[in-house]
Point group: C2
Chain length 534, copies 2
């Protein structure tokens, strides 16, 4: 019975709390858990303040989860009000002078050796959010929200009618607003960097250009060599009838095998798979489809791996969008589309779909999972072409924000880049420039997908160096050893380190695209029986 | 993609909003919809303020819904922090001087004829919440929350071991705290009234005593006459195997037939059925089991029937716990256990369970639903004995709060009252005084169950007066006519009127227990072939 004295519920209800047994996830050796310097009164006061914010943010995440898994259509408008009310409260908390004073008193001292890395990360992340909230006037944020809603509708209608002109005016308006956002947030080199930093702290487009150039060239070249070879893969075994209920049961088993902790999470269905957290590491949810289950499972085990000492702070969770994507891609692609992994897991698939896979062996299954087929649609892309899709978008959105191209030229430029990078060209805007929802909301997110692929290959390489018997272990059905290592060396640290620093700590090397280009060439030269380049 | 500039989500996610088509529920003739006097700047400012509170409260209700339908066990502690953080925000909003000033400026003027009933209700409900928040110091509320948590554990352990002594100390502590709550809230006659008012505004125990006395006597006497008659009912047709999935499908069909609008709600499973709202009338959820589905459906159609003009205010929803229970009982019992209703609906049941009900006709089914069987357990009680269970609890909790009895005497008094009212006696505390969770949380809720039964019979009587062909319509499968009438005359008005005034407006008569005693005698004299008293 919720306490109605706190005017909480619509009507008093008698509820017995549903308490599932809480398992304790194996945490790292307690000596290695990050710790805040709670003895310092400023740190402990800051923590109390940020705990409150994190708790309230979690309520928003719960409401969004519900919105995407269960909410009835009639509630769309009122849910918008509810989320907006919470954002108002959070805005006030982030701009509160008490927080300013606390951060002001800690900004310098926290750099001293007497403070921990967790303390420094905490102050850094709090300053980031505080700065954003104070730099962006309420009016701008509200107009952005309104424009996004309208822009989303315009995009949907434009896509339905395959007519870019219906979307162009709202896209132009969104660009104008985001340029103002960038100007207010500030940047060193280009406006675009200010937006990129929202998703990938510390990253710049000049760094991205250096990282992405070899990826673009190797991907293009590999695709051409595969096409030229005439070798093809028969993926028809994946085209059968797979009833949804059995698919969900399979997802659950694969996630359990992967190490996703169901006592600290839940799996559901939604039109688009996603992962969210209501307080890492204790409540991390995901929605799935098979294969997407392993991708979302990667996001989820990352969130579930946050040290419990970071709970209810801005440091719980993943270090950045790129860092997050590195884990979804590591598990989905580097591990999850490898032959050793399926040597260990294919029996689970066969049990779930005994008739569908009666005459399919693990070799044919893994080959089917890795079929390369240039497509116009990003979300259907294989590992070889995926980053080309991303690089098209990155190059275009960067130019849009920096004012180098006009909105009207976008469809033509899009099609030309597809021709140049993938060798195919959209026949209309719906399968071209209008295919993704992203630009109806903002800019700077796309490159983190490819960053994630680069980081995942670098970490995959490291795992092989640490575990010389990596493939044999996977083939025996064991993935826990890899998860344990990742938890200790990466996941436990949450958002304490900036993404590039984190990658360097995990792999002992700054971000380096060669790991990915090597990985891609080696894997697909083998699968398509091409002459080796390495 | 949620706007990460508002530091909202753990990580940016790309989500396409799931938009089911929003149907428009038939609203009452627009001339009869309650309206606020928005032209008055004080009313419009108050509305803006209360909208914000209602929006935030809804986020708490969403989190509680999740807690009871989906939340993993590992999240129990962190969810507690999240709900507490929200309560802190709400407490500040309710005690804010800006609200005090607004209410002070409206308290007198709003009584003038130039303001609407909705305006008066709004100010009244806002004052109630404001007064509560200002009268109860934060420390007391927090201690209450702590004691409730401990008390819940003590109750669970005591029930498990059937040992009242394990619960007694925490029960005593809870009573002490609630006496302080009552003293701070204030009361005219007895302390208990202050707590009762939390659930049933305007009700007092002296009024309840008058209302309950005839119910107690008629129920006791009817039970004795049924027992003495030797007539029995064979309810074995309800004891078969009913797979959960088919049960849920049946619940969905019965709810649709009843008029529950799935485009503004959702059905789920939980250990205990309940109804909640995230913003009536647009998002009203319920969890179900069969029969409980009709009970919860009654709560839900009441919430869904709130006029849309009341949305996002404290006036959206049900007028009180008793008013709410009147609708769950009206649909579950007065309508839902009647022969005419099942003449219209039994084919749906037979379609859901063709083998189980192959040889059962509607007469046998309805008789089975109405079997009278004194039991020690309230939640299993039939219509004849149910209120005796409640009156035992009401009499005891009133005496506890008013200081008329000592905690230690409770088990003995409980057993004696069961012997006197129901003719049976618990053999241990688990099936006696420890059976309900309620007293680990508070006092004053129990009587609203019986009030609901009284009100439901009075409204049922009114429906028959308005619709002389009521039974024939039900038997033809039509319930929409009754729902429409209830929406117009009761549901649309939300919390505008105090519960007793509302009942009088709906039935043209103040609360009168004779409708219930007549209903009970007539129904069960017929079912059990007793000599008629009326």
């Amino acid at each position: 019975m919720p306490n109605t004295l706190l005017y909480y519920t619509v009507r008093p209800r008698i509820l017995i709390e549903r308490r599932l047994p809480a398992t304790t996830m194996p945490e790292q050796d307690s000596r290695t858990l990050p710790e805040f310097t709670r003895g310092d009164s400023r740190i402990s006061e800051l923590l109390g303040y940020l705990n409150q914010i994190a708790d309230l943010q979690a309520l928003g995440a719960i409401a969004e989860w519900d919105q995407n898994t269960a909410m009835p259509g009639g509630a769309a408008d009122i849910r918008g009000f509810q989320l907006a009310a919470l954002q108002g409260v959070l805005h006030e908390l982030w701009t509160n002078p008490r927080l300013s004073n606390l951060l002001g008193a800690l900004r310098e001292p926290v750099q001293h050796a007497s403070f921990s890395d967790a303390d420094r990360g905490l102050v850094r992340e709090a300053l980031r959010a505080h700065d954003r909230a104070t730099k962006l006037p309420r009016k701008l944020v509200e107009e952005l929200a309104r424009v996004q809603a309208t822009s989303f509708e315009a995009w949907r209608s434009a896509k339905e009618h395959s007519d870019f002109a219906r979307f162009a005016p709202m896209l132009s308006r969104t660009i104008v607003l985001y340029r103002e956002v960038a100007d207010r947030l500030g940047f060193v080199e280009t406006r675009y960097d200010a937006l990129l930093n929202e998703y990938e702290s510390g990253m710049t487009s000049s760094k991205l250009d250096r990282l992405f150039a070899p990826v673009r060239e190797v991907s293009k070249s590999l695709l051409q060599r595969i096409n030229a070879s005439g070798n093809t893969i028969d993926a028809s075994c994946l085209a059968g009838e797979f009833p949804v209920e059995q698919q969900m049961a399979l997802c659950e088993r694969l996630l359990r095998n992967l190490g996703y902790d169901f006592s600290r999470g839940q799996m559901a269905q939604s039109p688009h798979p996603f992962t969210t957290s209501f307080g890492s590491p204790f409540d991390v949810r995901l929605t799935v489809r098979p294969m997407a289950a392993i991708h979302e499972g990667g996001h989820a085990v990352y969130e579930q791996g946050s040290a419990s000492t970071l709970v209810r702070t801005p440091l719980a969770g993943g270090a950045s969008s790129g860092a997050h994507e590195s884990q979804s891609r590591l598990w989905e692609n580097a591990i999850g589309r490898s032959r050793p992994y399926w040597q260990g897991q294919f029996s689970t698939v066969k049990e779930a779909f005994p008739t569908q896979f009666a005459h399919v062996d693990v070799t044919a299954f893994v080959r089917a999972l890795n079929k390369v087929q240039p497509s116009l649609i990003r979300v259907e892309a294989d590992e070889v072409t995926y980053n080309l899709h991303i690089i098209v978008r990155y190059e275009l959105e960067k130019a849009l924000i920096n004012g180098d191209i006009a909105v009207e030229t976008l469809p033509g430029l899009w099609n030309a880049k597809y021709r140049a990078y993938l060798g195919i060209e959209p026949s209309n805007d719906a399968e071209g420039v209008l295919q993704d929802i992203h630009w109806s909301f903002g800019f700077g997110y796309f490159p983190t997908y490819t960053l994630g692929n680069l980081y995942s290959a670098q970490i995959f390489h490291k795992l092989h160096a640490v575990f010389p018997d990596f493939d044999q272990r996977l083939a025996s059905g064991d993935t826990a050893f890899a998860l344990d290592w990742l938890r200790e060396h990466m996941y436990a640290h949450g958002v304490i380190y900036q993404p590039e620093e984190l990658i360097e700590r995990v792999t002992n090397e700054p971000p380096n695209p060669e790991h990915f280009t090597h990985y891609l060439n080696a894997k697909f030269e083998n699968i398509y029986s091409l002459p080796t380049t390495i």
